[in-house]
């Protein structure tokens, strides 16, 4: 099928993009890497969009250190997240996760901001930034605001972004010395969305676990975190099974996804033990 688009314009800077979105009568749509949006338009899941192409805004690209934190521009591509030395050192979770996303050609164009704004419950980056306690930086018609990752994901493809707002960057604390960060997921084929996945970090203050593809949005598994802090892996697996809300679909049943989540938690715990030595 072919896309049905109402109009297109390339934004010159963030302020221009915000103005264009505001002028589009609710039909404005940010176009970043296009790896979800153009697919949806080709399938006519999205029609009549007034596209505001932000993909040339180099000010939204790249990774920097700022006040002891890491700042990642919304247009930083998945491939860059996978190979960027600052990310590999200070947020290895994101670098590992990037390797699980789709295929090389899609990683060459897809952006982290697009993946977060799209908020597919099976996507890796939303769970990663929840696990890493990131902050999302957003600019809209009423100025700029910051949103904690824990408040950003509302449900299936739904986020805290308001009409006309643009995600410009995320920032997150750097990994502390000795911190371990791992992603474990199960997909039928390389590049497919995961049937279930977990991001797990261990720092001095304790474990953090964020689960994806097992509910309408990424889930911070606080019960499993407490059990792991207490050194009880069996209890963590049991708590995790209670905390997630997997659905059955053509890919896998809810029961199978719940089972997978437990297997993945055991694998992650083993890896963390191994890597911490």
């Amino acid at each position: 099928m072919k896309a049905s688009v109402a109009g297109y314009i390339r934004a010159n800077d963030v302020a221009h993009a915000v103005r264009l979105l505001a002028s589009a009568d609710g039909m404005g749509r940010v176009l970043a890497g296009g790896q979800s949006l153009v697919a949806a338009m080709n399938m006519r899941l999205s029609t009549g969009d007034m596209l505001v192409d932000i993909s040339r805004l180099t000010e939204l690209e790249g990774v920097t250190e700022e006040d002891g934190r890491l700042r990642i521009g919304a247009l930083t591509r998945h491939a860059e997240i996978g190979r960027n030395p600052l990310i590999q050192t200070h947020a290895p979770l994101l670098a590992e996760a990037a390797g699980h996303i789709a295929h090389a050609a899609i990683r060459n164009r897809g952006t982290i901001g697009g993946a977060l704004a799209h908020a597919d419950p099976a996507a890796e980056f939303p769970a990663c930034i929840l696990c890493l306690n990131a902050v999302l930086h957003v600019t809209g018609p009423d100025g700029s605001r910051d949103i904690a990752a824990g408040d950003f994901f509302h449900g299936l493809f739904e986020t805290a972004l308001e009409e006309g707002e643009i995600l410009t960057a995320i920032s997150l604390p750097k990994a502390e010395p000795g911190e371990v960060q791992v992603v474990e997921e199960m997909a039928r084929r390389a590049g497919d969305y995961a049937l279930a996945g977990l991001c797990v970090t261990r720092r001095r203050a304790g474990y953090r676990i964020a689960a994806f593809s097992v509910g309408p949005r990424p889930i911070l598994a606080t019960g499993a975190m407490q059990a792991l802090d207490a050194g009880d892996l069996d209890a963590a697996v049991a708590n995790l099974a209670e905390e997630i809300e997997p659905a059955s679909d053509t890919q896998a049943s809810a029961a199978y996804r719940r089972h997978l989540a437990g297997v993945l938690l055991r694998r992650a715990a083993l890896r963390i033990e191994g890597e911490a030595q």
Binding site: A6, G7, H103, A105, A190
Partner: protein
């Protein structure tokens, strides 16, 4: 600074080394533009939602999905298709290895497969078979069963590394 959304967008780009100027519909993807307007039918439009890889092109040095990029977004870009890469003899060795190893039957997947494989090969070194499979995981082939394709890519990687070592 224009604030006007357009239905047709003027673009200027280079395709296979030649400058091209055109006015494209807002919703037209890059593969349709190349096939329908420029007659470059090497890259195929198949699933049109990013799954099969038949549309893979080189854009500004990267292998990308031609069906997931709008022609309007290609303004200023440098694009290479299988036609241009063949004419410039950039991957004649890879094409010969595909023939020698029987790495194609109907050939529908081949243009995308070549562009994707060349991206991996141009990174240098000799990737192992698992890496080759991973890199080509986004390119479907319904004929060969992949084994021969992996053979061809591996052969070329070895040959190029051998030449580089001499």
């Amino acid at each position: 600074m224009s604030d006007q959304f357009e239905n047709r967008i003027d673009i200027a780009l280079t395709v296979n080394g030649e400058p091209v100027e055109a006015r494209v519909p807002a919703g037209q993807h890059l593969v349709d533009f190349l096939r329908l307007e420029l007659g470059l039918t090497g890259a195929h439009a198949s699933c049109e939602h990013g799954v099969c890889g038949a549309c893979t092109l080189r854009v500004n040095g990267d292998a990308v999905r031609g069906c997931l990029m709008l022609a309007a977004q290609a303004d200023g870009a440098e694009i290479w298709t299988v036609e241009g890469l063949s004419d410039s003899a950039a991957f004649t060795d890879l094409q010969e290895a595909f023939v020698a190893r029987n790495a194609l039957q109907c050939g529908f997947c081949t243009p995308g497969m070549l562009v994707a494989a060349e991206e991996l090969l141009s990174a240098g070194g000799v990737p192992d078979r698992a890496e080759i499979r991973e890199h080509l995981s986004g390119n479907y082939c319904r004929c060969t069963g992949y084994e021969a394709i992996v053979d061809a890519v591996e052969t070329v990687a070895r040959a190029r590394a051998g030449e580089a070592a001499q």
